[in-house]
């Protein structure tokens, strides 16, 4: 009866992720061949190729991995904990709360204090939003209430963000912030990667330790507790893990929506609907999706490069609508 479960799926996704990463290193203002990419990567090609691959495109790929993994795994973990297929950091307003924290930090010039201030405040805001939503879910609210509360949190965070922009004294700052809010992983450096890496790794590790308990929570909170699941501990693992990984990413890349919704949903059937087994594949699948979206936007010929958050929203929003329509009966 033993069966490999999530491992073969994870392996396939990992290979896909690596293949897309290589492709991602090829495309851009100066397209390179695979040979040139490999040469640039290992420092044997011409100097400008090395520069393009190592300094410009490699951080972009690394960020795609980190953001995709954070969003994919936290989406899967939140859905498992809340027993709700519509839970997702973006939809529940966790990303936009982190964004608000980041904007406020920029607005009040706090980011000048220290490199870590911006991600720290973003994570704090993400934590507050997650705790609030969890409190609601805890109080026995229906799926519908939870999603509506997420919409409200999201709207409030956006409104306060707009207020900050509205009152911003310098129009150039405004344009920067708006573009950043749309979500992008282009023009980032390894300094950005270093900033988010520890938090994403830490957050994902917390979420992974929650895997066995997430599996049992499918039975409902009472039966799960009767099987020895420590519910308060599980909640803290998922909430802090989500806040750390998503909050830190948002601080560097802006809000990239729907990845946490779409990826677990597409992969769930391959792990026989087991929430604990879904975490690792969702992380890898998230990275695959972000890489694919980031390559697509470079291939589409637009006067100005599209923002990643715009692309994921264009794909994700109709998907979300379809999911809502399908589960409408259960929700109401």
């Amino acid at each position: 009866m033993p069966r490999a479960g999530a491992l073969p799926l994870s392996l396939v996704l990992l290979l896909l992720m690596l293949a897309l990463s290589l492709l991602s290193l090829r495309f851009g203002a100066a397209p390179l061949t695979i040979d040139e990419v490999v040469a640039g990567l290992f420092g044997s090609g011409p100097e400008n190729h090395q520069l393009i691959v190592q300094q410009i495109r490699l951080p972009r790929v690394a960020l795609a991995w980190l953001v995709g993994m954070a969003l994919g795994m936290s989406g899967a973990a939140l859905q498992g904990l809340l027993r709700n297929p519509l839970a997702e950091p973006g939809l529940l307003g966790i990303s936009s709360s982190a964004g608000l924290g980041a904007v406020l930090t920029l607005y009040f010039g706090l980011s000048a204090i220290n490199d870590w201030t911006l991600p720290a405040v973003a994570m704090l805001f993400a934590l507050i939003a997650t705790l609030f939503l969890y409190g609601l879910a805890r109080a026995g609210s229906s799926n519908l209430t939870l999603i509506l509360a997420g919409v409200a949190v999201s709207a409030l965070a956006s409104a306060l963000t707009s207020l900050a922009l509205n009152l911003a004294p310098n129009p150039y700052d405004v344009q920067d912030i708006v573009l950043w809010l749309l979500g992008s992983i282009s023009d980032r450096s390894f300094a950005d990667v270093r900033l988010v890496l520890p938090f994403v790794v830490g957050g994902l590790a917390l979420l992974l330790t929650a895997a066995p308990a997430l599996e049992v929570i499918a039975l409902g909170e009472a039966e799960a507790t009767s099987l020895g699941v420590n519910l308060p501990r599980l909640r803290i693992l998922v909430i802090v893990g989500t806040a750390l990984s998503v909050g830190a990413c948002v601080a560097v890349t802006g809000a990239i929506g729907f990845v946490g919704l779409v990826v677990p949903h597409m992969l769930r059937r391959f792990v026989q609907y087991r929430s604990g087994q879904l975490l690792l594949p969702s992380a890898l699948g998230g990275a695959v999706l972000v890489l694919a979206a980031d390559i697509t936007l470079r291939l589409i010929d637009t006067p100005k490069e599209l923002q990643l958050g715009v692309v994921t929203a264009l794909v994700g929003a109709p998907f979300f609508l379809a999911l809502v329509l399908r589960s409408r009966r259960d929700m109401l």
Binding site: M1, P2, E215, A218, G228
Partner: protein, 270 residues
């Protein structure tokens, strides 16, 4: 001999409301003990308080040891609980569902990719539970493709897979057809014969009379009567607690006289 389960003055108060007041009870090993009472009488509350799922005052002892002081893992291995809520958020397969019953035995580290039922003892327990509840043939099916009766049996298999000394089941036969009701009750009966102790919440008074060794009748959170089946299910109790006039008959079953109780009319003088 120490009783298997002892309840001393078990009470539950939530937001100033008394849901359960002063229940004292001793349940022997191998006993099939029934909890009965009208809606809102506190049957589920009693089971949850017993399982330490609700903040309760008083004491619950398992083989003389306090349950509140026991660590969660040991408690989870010794007491298995089937709740009334049969919703599963995800359509997991029957065998994965049953394997969750082995959670209290798993190692503390996440064993990546491995099912929670990985040891030989786990496999044996899961297999046995699947057979006992007659869901072996359904083991690869997704739980959302099961009928209500099949799902109830699969959930019961999950509880049996724990292999606990004590089994607490909150309305395990609700929503089952008569044949499956009898099957589940016979299964619980057999568990008791093999040494497990079973506490079961029932609405069907005939099933309670036919299968249980002893009963506790609750009304509005208070114990009204407890002890031998026939004394608890008296027509006076049925009238005053349930507010019904019942037809009571007798049937000899394996040398034992068992009553059947058919609620017939609302008792207007209750």
């Amino acid at each position: 001999m120490t009783p298997c389960l002892q309840l001393h003055d078990l009470s539950v108060q939530i937001r100033g409301q008394t849901l359960l007041a002063g229940v004292d009870l001793a349940i022997g090993r191998g006993e099939l003990f029934g909890l009965i009472g009208p809606n809102g009488a506190g049957k589920s509350t009693l089971v949850k308080a017993l399982m330490q799922l609700l903040p309760a005052s008083g004491e619950v002892l398992l083989e003389g040891a306090s349950l509140a002081a026991m660590n969660a893992r040991e408690r989870a291995r010794r007491l298995a609980y089937l709740s009334q809520d049969d919703r599963l958020q995800w359509p997991i397969r029957v065998r994965d569902l049953v394997a969750l019953g082995r959670h209290p035995y798993r190692g503390s580290w996440w064993r990546g990719g491995q099912a929670p039922g990985a040891s030989a003892a786990d496999h044996a327990a899961i297999e046995q539970a699947l057979h006992a509840t007659d869901v072996w043939a359904l083991r690869e099916r997704r739980s959302d493709t099961l009928s209500g009766g099949e799902r109830a049996r699969a959930r019961l298999a999950r509880v049996l897979a724990v292999e606990a000394e004590v089994l607490l089941a909150d309305e395990p036969v609700a929503a089952l057809d008569p044949m499956h009701q009898l099957r589940v009750m016979e299964l619980l009966r057999a568990r008791c014969r093999s040494g497990q102790t079973v506490v079961v919440v029932l609405h069907d008074l005939t099933l309670a009379s036919r299968f249980c060794d002893r009963l506790l009748l609750l009304d509005q959170g208070r114990p009204v009567a407890s002890g031998a089946v026939d004394s608890v299910l008296s027509s006076d109790n049925l009238r005053s607690v349930y507010g019904v006039r019942a037809l009571i008959g007798e049937q000899i079953e394996g040398g034992e006289t068992r009553r059947y109780i058919v609620p017939w009319a609302v008792a207007h003088d209750a």
